[in-house]
Symmetry: D2
Subunit: 262 residues, 4 copies
């Protein structure tokens, strides 16, 4: 075939017999012992080390996403582990597969909404007017505003004020954080319903404050949840629940089909 | 069906409208802003917060496993992203699926070997004699000793001395770290080959030093690599290589089958 | 918690000590020996057995999707198998994860387009005029028409005339098959480019002819490719290519970063 | 890098603008309309078309494995679909990830056991004596014999006599099928327990009869279950159960942790 080759290049790192370099930093000499896991994630996503403020806020954002209890994702991982305990990596993979539009998608939806509404965060803007336009837009398309509403945490998601407090401490509380809260108030006003800003909405806004592409948002959820899923699988190995869940659901699901027992 | 139900219980956490508690700790009040991502992983795995030394060593161990360049796992994730860019979580999942016996298994193999050889790390033991027995055992079963050998990093894997230095600093350098090095020397002597202790072997030993079950080891690799895979996918989104890899391989793989072009 | 339970029900099947019933049919007595794998898939998707014509066309459609050579999906599966040969199911899973919007999505896109344009296939319609409106719509939104175009198979995808011939034989060639071909001609006329109807487009149209929901389309691709991926993994076990692909890509990708060797 | 390249080759197929060839057969001309999905699977696994007997038995074997009701695998797929309905392929992948040692592994375990005990199936052998040795071996290692026992189907798994009847019809009932039944009788005698030969055991024996490598066994389960999982996801899309399962389990799992409500 005469198709000319295109180059294949990656900037992730390189190694020689006595050196390992990741994103331009010597792994043993510069990274190990100095970077925590969140800092390393920041390096992977941005190609540079975080400063102290970035490290504090970024770690808080990712940590928020690690553990959400018995989610569908955690259940899928545990049920997978029941069948293939020798392949724990596949159980984590199964758990990650469901982090799509319904649960994790709202972070990226919120970040996209804010970035598109306010491409330049330094620009002077009438934020309340902008929030009204955003909410009207979603309402006219009959779509829900991403990042708002929570089945349990009302009227306030307790993670949100804490995340914004850390953002203020670290110098990352700006127009995106302000705008998402204006949007929340406007959405409650327009709908007449309780629509608290939830943690995924706050994290979406803080991703914008830190200058991340909205595509990074789903990645944060995925990496954080991988940590949490390993925790669930170790609990499943010690005090299993998947088999009992299976037996109960199987019994009930086919009960109406089975002929009466004599 | 009359099968009696067994209880379904998890200790991971709970929430009420105004509270979220993870592993007994208030998420907004005690965790956010105080725990980095590695600390949160430690909490998930052990049910308690790490102290400063545990935090430093544990973060270094997990950070070591995040980024290994263009691995088969990273390639699988990138090729998956090429077909389903709207489902980044599935691309990370695909990348994790290959973290099995060949690449990540050696950490857990090494930890298992060390725990079984030395169930009580405080006990006085003749470590060189124990190392000889371990190596003889593996050689008589014609198995390779897990955690030894590296295709590139010879005679020393540069991550290993750094990890052991951090272990000494933090008070976690003990009999397991010593034993794995005795095993390495004995294996080189017995085989006449260069068999450096590699990073997975050192991390396996340090898992033992920290009191982790050997099953935790694969979990460390899986969570760390999930972080790295997100990094690879963001690079793939900006400067893709998967399509070029695909085209080249497809061309070459079927070239011998295609009839000569006129 | 006082949340009332909703019922959990499935119609997939039931069993007692001496009976196994799938979708209302006795598995040993009615299905085994009588249904081929494609018929069983039809039963799973529709809840009823196919007649002879449905069986013939449906099997042809799924068979078309089984094997497409060294695709990104097949490569991802092989690279995963390299790391975890003990977990072949995870390698197939990794290969499936990439069957998203880019490669398999066009079947469902095409079926959706046709169903929305022609909700009642029996209704008398001016198909050429309808095709013009469809193509104009896509062009005005600057979207590509799903199911058209192929990098290699020009001017005709050789699977398409064969699938339509089988559809005619079996009585399933109707307005949807006609419409998709009108759309193809119109799209070529409007764009001035070669845009052959490809196999995914033809299968999308035939899904409509058989009365399937457009959501079934992706399912056909996924089940068929699972069959093909198992074939690839058995070949990989015998005559591996994944390691060589990995080595070459890793070398080339980081070559520009490595310092010159002395 | 001076590492010499090794060739990259696959025999799966090739294509030119007007031809598509899979495993040496013209896809449109020889396969479509002639092969059912099971035949195509046979072609993928063996590189040749099945004859009529092979087709009948092979299809029956795979069809047996398609639908097992609400299994952990089906539940994992449905829970994944709940979070990412836009990525059905990932939900199927999640369901496949759990087809490991516990549920699907017994087919390959049984095939391996039979092949190792009887490498040449034509050789004259005292099958009862061989069966006794096999059972003694497993009992002395305190391992369970793969392919025996079933929680529900006692004293006979109704799929087994049907599969063996088809094997007799098609000329594939031989020493492996006979041996596995001798093993079953011997295991019941030795243990004093009801240990029916189950469907995975029968299929393992029939894989041996058809000359398949034992590694093929897991592949049969994986491809068959992919078909079944698509069926489950379409039912989930119409009459969902995953959310109710999730809510119930989450409530119960953390109930003991939540403070009493006032």
């Amino acid at each position: 075939m005469s198709r000319p080759h295109k180059p294949i290049r990656s900037e992730m790192g390189w190694s020689t017999p006595d050196r390992i370099v990741v994103r331009g930093k010597d792994l043993p000499g510069e990274i190990l012992g100095n970077f925590n896991l969140g800092d390393m994630a920041f390096l992977e996503l941005t190609g540079r080390a975080p400063d102290a403020n970035e490290s504090r806020l970024f770690n808080a954002m990712v940590v928020t996403l690690v553990e959400h209890g018995i989610t569908p994702s955690a259940l899928a991982a545990r049920l997978t582990y029941l069948g293939a305990p020798e392949a724990m990596q596949a159980a984590v993979a199964a758990g990650l597969c469901g982090l799509g539009s319904v649960f994790v998608g709202s972070t990226e939806g919120c970040a996209k909404m804010l970035t598109e509404a306010l491409p330049d965060p330094k620009e002077k803007t009438d934020l309340p007017a902008l929030a009204r336009r955003i909410v009207q837009d979603y309402r006219s398309r009959k779509q829900i505003v991403p990042g708002l509403g929570h089945p349990i945490h009302k009227p306030v998601d307790p993670r949100v004020p804490r995340l914004f407090a850390i953002a203020k401490d670290t110098g990352f509380y700006g127009n995106y954080a302000e705008l998402v809260q204006q949007v929340q108030q406007e959405a409650e006003r327009a709908s007449g319903k309780r629509l608290p800003l939830n943690a995924t909405g706050a994290i979406g806004a803080l991703c914008c404050e830190m200058g991340f592409d909205w595509r990074v948002c789903r990645g944060l959820g995925v990496m954080a949840r991988a940590v949490g899923l390993v925790g669930h699988l170790l609990e499943e190995a010690r005090t299993p629940i998947a088999q009992e869940v299976w037996y109960r659901v199987e019994d009930e699901a086919s009960e109406h089909l089975r002929p009466d027992e004599p």
